[in-house]
Each structure stands twice: as C-alpha cells, then as structure tokens.
C-alpha cells in the first residue's frame, strides 16, 4: 500500500484555490481542500471538488482526433499538430493575420499564457489575444 497527498492548485479558474490530491496505490482520489491555503482556506467550488474526475473519466480523450467529414479519426500528435500548423498558416496567408484570434486560459500557468500571446504576436502577427476569464 502506498498513500500520498500532493499539494497543488485547482486547475479550473484563475482563483487558484489550494488542494491536496490523494493518491492511493497510483489511483487519484477526490481532492482534499487545503485548509492552510491563504486564499481558499479549506473551501472549493463544485469544479474544484470535481477536479480529479476528468482525469480518470472513461470519456477522457487521450489521443488527438482529426475530423474528416463527419468522422473523427485517431491521429498521432505529429499528424494533428502538422495539420493545425498548416491550416493556421493557410488562413493567415489567405485572409491576413487578423483573421485569427488566440484565447489564453486561466487554467494555464503564466508561462504558458505568455508563450501563447508571444506566438500570436510574433509568429502569426496579430494582437487578437483574449482570455477566458473575460468571457
């Protein structure tokens, strides 16, 4: 038997409530709200309480799917990323960089969000950058 609790931050919104994720024999359990977190003080909203459910959900996507017509087909990461990259470049070349927009997320780290806006501004050439927290 192996049990540990991992101190982490809720992945959902920008509040960043604190939680411990229990792992028992490699199985992820329901979050335990961190009572000593300065912001959330042992409380979570329903999303935080459910934060581990999607990880173990049988419906979770674990591979990229590419749409062809009405069908979704399993693809490798290389295939999927190549397709996204070439479509982005086609749209930019055909309609101009401002035909594209980039949505950052409160679920990402500062660094990930920084990278996304950097990519939007320097690689694609648009200032159309927004954030899910404004929705």
């Amino acid at each position: 038997m192996n049990y540990k609790t991992v101190l982490t931050v809720c992945p959902y919104c920008g509040c960043g409530c604190g939680m411990y994720l229990p792992v028992l024999d490699g199985q992820l359990g329901q979050p335990i709200p961190d009572k000593t977190h300065p912001l959330s003080e042992g409380r979570l909203c329903i999303k935080g309480w459910a934060a581990s459910e999607h990880v173990v959900s049988p419906d979770r996507l674990t591979q990229p799917l590419v749409r062809t017509g009405d069908d979704l087909k399993q693809a490798t990461w290389d295939e999927a990323l190549d397709l996204v990259a070439s479509r982005l470049m086609t749209l930019r070349d055909r309609h101009g960089p401002d035909s594209l927009a980039f949505l950052c997320s409160a679920k990402c780290t500062n660094e990930e969000n920084y990278l996304l806006q950097k990519f939007a501004r320097t690689t694609v050439g648009t200032n159309n950058v927004d954030h899910c927290a404004r929705l």
Binding site: M1, Y3, Y20, P22, D34, K35, H37, G42, C45, I46
Partner: protein, 272 residues
C-alpha cells in the same frame, strides 16, 4: 488545563516514532507541514516526523477508510481527536472498516477548541496526548438559543435566508466523514435539479435527514462551506432531540444501533 501545543506535538511524535520503530503499524495518518502548508500525510518512517503537526483539523477518518480498504496486512495508526474517533465508529457501523485494524493515538482538544466546536466530548475514549477538558453543551451557543426561542415561521425564515446563499458546491457532503453512501441521492435529478442555484431547501433537508443519527459534530461541513452556512446549528438541534428522546449519541460504540433503525421496543423513548 491546556498544555502548550509544542509539548503535545513532541509527545505525539514520540508515540508515532515508537509505533513505527516497533513495526506495530504500517504507517500513521496525521498532519504534516511542508512548504508552509499543512495537510494529511501517511507517516511511514521517522524521517519526516519533525514535520508532524496537530493543527488544523482534516477529515482523517475518511482517509483511514480509503487506506484500510487497500491495506492487505498489518495495522494502520491514526491520530484522532474525539470527533475523528466517533466518525470512525459511525463508519464502522455503516461499512466494513474494522476498528481492530486501527491503532488510535488519542488526542484531547483544548478548552478553546471545545468552546469553538460547542463540543460535548472534546476527547477520544482513550487519551494518549493532552489532558481531558470539560465538554461544552451545544445549547450554550447564542444562535442555537435564539432559534429555540423563535416560532416555526421565524425559524423557517431564518433557514431559508441562510440556505439561499448555497452555491451547491457539494463541499458539505464531500467532506463529511459520515456522508459516505456510494450512490448519493443528492446527485439524482429527481431530487436535485441540475443547474439550479440555490438548490431547493430539500437539498439540505435530505442531507440533514440522512446524517441525523450519525453526525459526530466535527464541524467539517461548515468549515468547508464557501458561503458560511451554519449547518451544524441545525444538526445540533436534531442531535439534542435524539439525546433527549432516546438517550442516544452517535459515535460511542460500534455495537450501539441508531434509534432510527430500531423499533420502539428495542430503543424505548425516554421517560421525560
């Protein structure tokens, strides 16, 4: 008398260290402070014992239940306050957890905590750390007293106003050590409409009814409530009725049956 926290913590560390050294337990569930945060932890060696802490309180009984279910051999140690032990006893009545497989390290609470929790029994059945302090009657609480003086309409209005703040996070249900049904009716749409906030009053009444004879008064539900709804005020009054009518308290003995599940012959009403 209240002993200083550091003394109690040191004593607890020594007990845990002895249990581990003598291989009496596979590990001990307690609290650890690491990176300036404190949370539940399974101590399996003396290495991290200097990080053992006694505050704040976490639902250790629920963690014990999970670990015991996957522990094939040996015993599990756990640091328990009065309410943790009572929660384990209630769990043992409801599930297949075996109390014999637990080694309880009993911790008595301070007078201050007992007052805060309005706790009648701020100590477990056997105290290893700390000294016994006097319990506090839940009826001493000003809010409880005020409610008892009000009529039904006033009380209903009070609770409607309180429960109107509920954001249906399910925190009270998730954290509660005795709310452990695998199929919970609060997740069924015929009882609780999806997407409706605040939920109907029945959301809270169903829970109150289900834990009426099991609530051990740990206060974890209120502590986890983002909207600070004083649920235990409600449960306290139900508990007091059980005491008054049937002389029954949950969490004292695994063999004692709740009057809600027995007939009046088995658990007669008390002469009042």
């Amino acid at each position: 008398m209240n002993l200083p926290q550091e003394v109690l913590t040191e004593e607890t560390r020594q007990i845990v260290s002895r249990l581990l050294r003598d291989n009496q337990v596979v590990g001990v569930i307690g609290l650890r402070t690491e990176h300036n945060h404190t949370g539940p932890h399974l101590f399996t060696s003396a290495d991290d014992l200097k990080e053992l802490t006694l505050e704040p309180r976490y639902p250790l009984a629920t963690i014990c239940q999970a670990i015991l279910s996957s522990l094939s051999q040996g015993k599990l140690g756990v640091i328990v306050r009065g309410c943790d032990e009572r929660a384990l006893i209630e769990m043992a009545k409801l599930t297949n957890i075996e109390m014999e497989r637990l080694v309880l390290i009993g911790l008595s609470c301070s007078e201050e905590l007992a007052r805060q929790c309005r706790c009648r029994r701020p100590y477990p059945s056997h105290i290893d750390v700390g000294e016994i302090v006097e319990g506090v009657s839940p009826l001493e609480d000003t809010q409880v007293r005020r409610l008892l003086e009000q009529n039904v309409e006033e009380r209903l209005a009070f609770w409607q106003q309180e429960f109107a703040r509920c954001i249906k996070c399910y925190g009270c249900r998730n954290i509660c050590p005795v709310c452990i049904c695998t199929e919970c009716v609060l997740k069924e749409e015929c009882w609780v409409e999806r997407g409706q906030i605040p939920p109907e009053l029945q959301f809270h009444l169903i829970r109150a009814y289900h834990i009426a004879d099991k609530c051990v008064g740990c206060g974890a539900c209120v502590a986890a409530c983002p909207m600070e709804i004083p649920m235990t005020t409600f449960y306290t009054l139900v508990q007091e009725k059980l005491r008054e009518l049937f002389d029954y308290e949950p969490g004292l003995d695994t063999k004692q049956k709740s009057p809600i599940t027995t007939t009046l012959e088995e658990t007669p009403l008390r002469e009042l």
